[in-house]
């Protein structure tokens, strides 16, 4: 069988063409390195580097033009047997009930976003009431939230925080808006996992959890907020967020997940209501499977 000596991919049963070895890459890198060394030592070394570089450029060029240099490498084919001594095992289910219930339906991402926006707006009501009652200004709560982002506001007075500041309002809007969206998305993702008591989950459990987490970490994130925050009103605000966000999320229709497609046809068609089919394994079959599993993959 003939092959083109200039075709690097040409192969037959005896010969494979591979790129020819060449020292020019090494010479060129040495030349460039010496030119650099010449800058900090002596110009003679730099000139030597330049000569080597030019020489290697020519040599390298001739290596690849008009045809890339290749060498034939002799091949003697001896097939390598690809096999394994391991056998396949089928793992028996740990129990007759599935350990993990993955929702077959969930909310769309936009649902979480809408919930986050609604919850975020609702949260401003108790926060605003607190601000008005205690400091006679709606802007106190806004500026307090924003103060974590401004180092110069660390020692700001209550009077300063009660005034309107455009950059404070913008910063608070960004912080509050972004956080509300993220928490809304979390609600959208998590509520289908706890379907039994949505009000308890969204309106009580989640606010308690967030309050505890923030209570332990707020000193690091925003020392000024940590000094002045009123935890009672903060908790009330979170409950407002949770109830409204959870309500808005639950208003939306769920969509089917990839898990749904994995269900048996009878379940998908609505002919059977058992959405989590249980794999029944009788005692003898389980014993066989366990035994097989031990043998497998040894």
């Amino acid at each position: 069988m003939q092959h083109d000596p200039h075709d690097p991919h040409a192969t037959d049963t005896n010969v494979i063409q591979l790129p020819a070895p060449t020292a020019y890459p090494m010479v060129m890198s040495l030349g460039i390195a010496l030119m650099c060394t010449g800058l900090v030592t002596n110009i003679v070394i730099g000139i030597l580097g330049l000569v080597l570089t030019l020489w290697s450029i020519v040599g390298w060029f001739l290596q690849v033009f008009p045809h890339e240099a290749h060498i034939p490498v002799a091949v003697e084919i001896e097939p390598i047997e690809i096999s394994t001594s391991r056998t396949l095992g089928r793992r028996a289910p740990a129990s007759e009930k599935p350990r993990l219930v993955i929702p077959v339906e969930t909310f769309q991402i936009t649902t979480g976003i809408k919930g986050g926006i609604a919850g975020g707006i609702a949260m401003t009501v108790p926060a605003g009431i607190f601000s008005l009652i205690k400091y006679h200004s709606f802007w106190y709560a806004t500026n307090l939230l924003a103060a974590g982002g401004f180092v110069s506001w660390a020692g700001a007075s209550d009077a300063f925080l009660s005034e309107f500041h455009l950059r404070g309002a913008l910063a608070a809007l960004i912080i509050h808006g972004l956080t509300s969206l993220l928490v809304g998305l979390l609600y959208g993702a998590m509520l289908p996992m706890f379907p039994r008591w949505p009000i308890l989950t969204a309106g009580v459990a989640a606010p308690i959890m967030f309050t505890v987490i923030l209570h332990s970490g707020i000193g690091v994130i925003s020392p000024i907020l940590n000094q002045r925050i009123d935890w009672f009103w903060f908790f009330i605000s979170l409950i407002a967020f949770g109830l409204v966000c959870g309500y808005v999320v639950n208003l939306h229709t769920k969509v089917r997940t990839a898990q749904f497609r994995a269900l048996p046809f009878a379940v998908r068609a609505g002919l059977h209501t058992d959405t989590f089919p249980v794999i029944h394994v009788d005692a003898q079959e389980k014993k066989d499977l366990d035994h097989k599993d031990k043998d497998a993959q040894q």
Binding site: I16, M26, C36, V73, A74, V75, I77, I82, S85, G149
Partner: protein, 562 residues
Amino acid sequence: MATQTPVPAAIDQTTETAPRRLVFEVLQDWISTTDHKKIGMLYIGYSLVFLVIAGFEAVLMRIQLAFPNNHAVSPQAFNRLFTMHGTTMVFFVGMPILFGFGNYLVPLMIGARDMAFPRLNAFSFWISAFGGLLLYFSYIGGDGMYGAGSAPDVGWWAYAPLTAHAFSPGHSTDYWTLAVFLSGIGSVGTALNIVTTIISMRCPGMTMNRLPLLAWLYLSMSLLTFVAVGPLSAAQIMLMLDRYLGSHFFDAQAGGSAVLWMHFFWIFGHPEVYVLVMPAFGFASEIIPVFSRKAIFGYTAMVAASIGICFVSLSVWAHHMFTVGLGPAGNAFFTLSTMAIGVPTGIKIFNWLATIWGGKVHFTTAMLFAVAFLFQFMLAGLTGIMLSVAPLDWQLGGSYFVVAHFHFVLVGAILFMIFAAFYYWYPKMTGRLLNEKIGKWHFWIFLIGFHLCFDLMHIPGMLGMPRRIYTYEADRGWFLLNFLVSTGAGIQTIGTLIFVYNMVWSYFKGEIAGPDPWDAWTLEWATASPPPAYNFATTPSVASRRPLWDLKHPEDTDGQYE
């Protein structure tokens, strides 16, 4: 049902009777080689030499810091030690050793005969190697050919204005600049080769959806290298112009900006961490499934997380500059972006754990290192999240806490996975297995030394011990901790020496590996160990992500599940 073509390899029978070659012939063979496997081994061998040198520098530093008011080395020598240690470990150990593994493995794993540009590949290696030699030549010629030598002493990040002529006379800083610049050329060349090879030289059937995760990680790492190394090289040129042609890029007194250098450096420096850690992710993604006897969990999510890390890591650099004073917007942005990178990284950790979960785990030495990597990388990530919070960074930045954090990444994650990679692929490279018993001694001794050293190193940092400090007073309460940290460094040295002994001993007396000693699933195990020059006698064809699984289990091929 998927089908696949067997992947026979060739064994050159003539080598058994080939006459012993002269030293000169061997040298010529290695100097002129364009074979990706030999270039890979050149990269690895050269990196190991520099690893020993930079490790020795670390030990000297730890001896100096083991006792208060110690003067084991001079303050000037100490400054050179931490500069050379950092520069060497990042540019002449970390990057080249990982490029070495990439060079060796990527073409084999995708069924190619060589890299896309074999000559550029050789050039990239040699220019990086000469860069390393130039850096260490500074010990002789740092002040110029006719003066006494002195190595660079400006720290591995070489902040302005310390690098200005007024504060850094002589040539020591120039050696640093030029050496790192040469290394950058080599890095970009190899990255270009890896990207081109993966994009255009995959064997039939190997779609991007079937690409081994290691190749995906090397692709991401190489793309990141393009973006990250460019600014550093540009900054090196600007620094040379400042020092020799009177420009003022980084001269604040003449209208330049020292902070500009910091931006240039860290827009390289932080992605560089991911350039180093992504190949380690690749090693973990190959080793953990094989020794858990399961396919990788969440392949698509792993790929998406890799690409996600690639992009997000480009937007976090200024968290290294919180103490400069970025202003509220900068602080908030870089805090959030740094925290965000924990999401794709967390996905990876969960997927590796899910791969191990329920598997039939074989605790070989490679797997032990991989499991340790999982825990240590998670801890490194947690301290990283702590440091991403600007107010906390104001307290801990520039302290030994930061040193401990990034050594948890570089040693606890990357070096551990490099060790794992050696235990896993050494048989492919040499044809002999590394000794498992010695390997386990290596693992446990190194693990103890690592945790003694770097766990405790966090504490003096929290107590206020600054990094780069030459010595300290006895009444600061740092002695015992520093002594234990130094002891840990010594134990790690013993562990490393055991590893070196294992490599040498196993090369001559190790058990013969055969083509597929781990019963693995990717293409490199379908050819002889070590592979012939042409890798595969016939071009393989694949039908799933685990082509060797398909061949070993034709009754239950992977393609039907992908």
